[in-house]
């Protein structure tokens, strides 16, 4: 090659023309792939906003569902039901997940730590419908009825692995000098963790919990045989309750035009909440990154 280049560098220039064509074609194709995936998102968003916002009314937030065949009504009970389920799920998933994450990042070592990490990944990979079956056999069968409690437990179990992993990750990102500083001041390990390390990672941990909530808020499968569904208000924690995702499912597969309209409205509300949470969480983390760099 060096000889050729010495004689006439232009004529034998590498890369040869056919390589250049392949280059342009393949690179364009990859760009089109990216464009395709992003346009799917824009399409989904556009379609839901168009169809959902049109079907949305004040009644949606304040009224109970009406029997099939009648028009009107809303999903106030499903909105409150979803909120209650998420509250219960956080009460179960956040403490166990966050404390488990603290264990892995600050105390854990050896085979037990490995086992916890491995089981967490395993639990994270369990299909959500299997979690639903599990909670059904655990709570619904002994109680002999569906309940908000069972639904909340199912979502809570789904929150644990992600809460644990995000907490673990953000705690590990805290520089070791902070740990050493705390210990050098005479604080015990636990004091250092509680007063220095966790506050330093707090923003990340909170962001992780927000994303986690956004994820389980849309889960339908684990609620089908735990929280079940309800046409009316569900008081307390012991009765079956409606929730937005399950209502969307039931309305979407129904034959009624008006229920389809309501499903779009509910989908729009649910997706807006999930996307807003994702965007806020993203801004929180990126804001944190840029300040820590300066």
């Amino acid at each position: 090659m060096s000889r050729a280049r010495a004689n006439s560098p232009r004529a034998h220039a590498y890369p040869p023309p056919h390589k250049k064509v392949i280059n342009v074609v393949m690179l364009t194709l990859t760009g089109l792939c990216a464009l395709l995936v992003v346009s799917v998102l824009l399409f989904i968003l556009g379609y839901l906003v168009w169809n959902g916002a049109r079907s949305l009314s004040w009644n949606f937030f304040t009224k109970l569902p009406v029997p099939a065949g009648q028009t009107g009504g809303g999903m106030a009970n499903a909105i409150v039901g979803s909120a209650k389920l998420l509250l219960l799920a956080s009460a179960i998933g956040v403490p166990i997940g966050v404390l488990g994450g603290v264990y892995l990042a600050e105390f854990g070592k050896g085979w037990f730590s490995f086992a916890v990490r491995y089981t967490t990944d395993l639990l994270n990979g369990v299909p959500s419908i299997v979690i639903g079956i599990f909670v059904y056999t655990l709570i619904v069968i002994p109680q002999h009825h569906f309940s908000t409690l069972a639904g909340g437990v199912a979502l809570g179990i789904m929150m644990i692995p992600i809460a644990l992993r995000s907490t673990d990750e953000f705690l590990r990102a805290v520089p070791n000098t902070l740990r050493e500083g705390g210990l050098a001041l005479g604080a015990s390990k636990a004091q250092t963790v509680v007063t220095v390390i966790i506050p330093a990672a707090m923003q990340g941990i909170v962001t992780g919990i927000m994303l986690n909530l956004a994820r389980v808020a849309g889960e339908t499968a684990p609620l089908l045989f735990t929280a079940f569904g309800n046409q009316f208000w569900s008081s307390g924690w012991n009765g079956p309750t409606a929730s937005l995702p399950v209502v969307i499912f039931n309305y979407a597969i129904s034959p009624y035009e008006d229920w389809h309209r309501q499903a779009w409205a509910a989908g729009f509300v649910l997706l807006s909440g999930i996307f807003l949470t994702n965007i806020v969480a993203r801004l929180l983390v990126s804001g944190r990154r840029s300040t820590s760099r300066s």
């Binding site: 690179l27 839901l48 166990i96 854990g108 395993l122 299997v130 015990s188 004091q191 997706l271 996307f275």
Partner: protein, 329 residues
């Protein structure tokens, strides 16, 4: 830092007689308590997982004893006569998941290569965030869009063309009503693409710059550098992302239930309605009467759990080498 000032100073007795601390003193320092509390949480996770396996195993006992391994090989699903065979559901689950991979992998890989190698970093970050938002869309909303948007498009536009060109193939034979393996695979493909893109992009970005520069210096084109130097280096991680996507596709419930048609049959045509494991559980579990029926459905959940567990383990094994590289620097 101000918060450290409020903590009481640690007792100095620890230095005088380290091994003679009373339990109470140990507790005051907080280390033991903190260890115990966090340890208990970590242990809870292991216990929950063990309990999950135990419940699935115990509550499918009737069906396991009645049918044995034959359960996996029989295609007879007949609740009226209490005969249960899982084959149509296993077939549907595997078929839709692999079909989804065939659609999603090339697109996802292409998009990941574009985002990691070609796009300016800022544009890449914005696009990646948008693609990751796709992963945040709940499955029931994919199902909703599937029923009312994708099925009509497939029925009126895409499938007639497919049948016109490939109609002689057995996989495209038969009447098409909308709900089918093919529709389910399309929805699944859209759902798993974000996972392939975001993980593969991370893996590609982690490839050392020298790997690119070495080949660039030889005068290779951008595509040659990417395809022959960067992608082989990232192979394992990218394969890992495919396995993770596969595990998700196998366990996906709502969107598939809404577009697959829910007919327990085994047909070669991708255009006929079918059923998956997750879908049959979602549809029939609350209506199942009789212990054997419920047990058979729980055994299906057990099968699904075992399969996704194996696929996830493979994915982790593939990504293990990659992780250690990441933590090294």
């Amino acid at each position: 830092m101000a918060s450290t000032a409020t903590t009481p100073p640690a007792p100095s007795s620890a230095q005088d007689a380290p091994e003679k601390l009373s339990l109470l003193e140990k507790f005051k320092k907080g280390d033991e308590a903190a260890f115990l509390i966090t340890f208990a949480s970590a242990l809870t996770i292991i216990l929950i997982t063990c309990l999950l396996v135990q419940r699935l195993w115990a509550d499918s006992a009737l069906s396991r004893h009645a049918f044995g391994w034959h359960f996996l090989a029989s295609s007879d699903w007949d609740p009226v006569n209490d005969q249960y065979g899982a084959l149509p559901f296993i077939y549907g689950t595997v078929l839709t998941a692999f079909l989804a991979l065939i659609i999603a992998v090339p697109v996802g890989m292409g998009a990941a290569i574009f985002l990691a190698e070609l796009a300016p970093r800022k544009l890449s970050n914005v696009l990646t965030f948008m693609i990751e938002l796709l992963a945040a869309v709940p499955s029931v909303i994919y199902g909703l869009l599937g029923i009312f948007v994708l099925l009509p498009i497939l029925r009126d536009r895409i499938v007639p063309v497919l049948q016109g060109v490939f109609g002689f193939l057995p996989i495209f034979k038969g009447a098409f009503y909308g709900v089918s393996y093919f529709s389910a695979a399309c929805v699944l493909a859209i759902m798993i693409v974000p996972f392939i893109v975001s993980i593969s992009r991370e893996v590609l970005l982690a490839v050392p710059q020298s790997q690119r520069e070495a080949m660039m210096a030889l005068g290779a084109t951008k595509w040659d550098v990417t395809w022959k130097s960067v992608v082989p280096y990232a192979q394992r991680g990218m394969a890992g992302s495919i396995f993770l996507a596969l595990a998700r596709a196998l366990g996906e419930t709502m969107a598939v239930t809404m577009v697959i048609g829910n007919v327990p049959s085994i047909t070669a045509s991708l255009l006929s309605p079918g059923y998956t494991i997750a879908a049959v559980i979602a549809n029939e579990f609350t209506e199942a009467t009789g212990d054997l029926y419920v047990n058979a459905l729980i055994e299906l959940a057990l099968v699904l759990f075992a399969v996704t567990m194996i696929i996830n383990a493979l994915a982790r094994l593939l990504m293990l080498g990659m992780k250690s590289q990441e933590t090294a620097h």
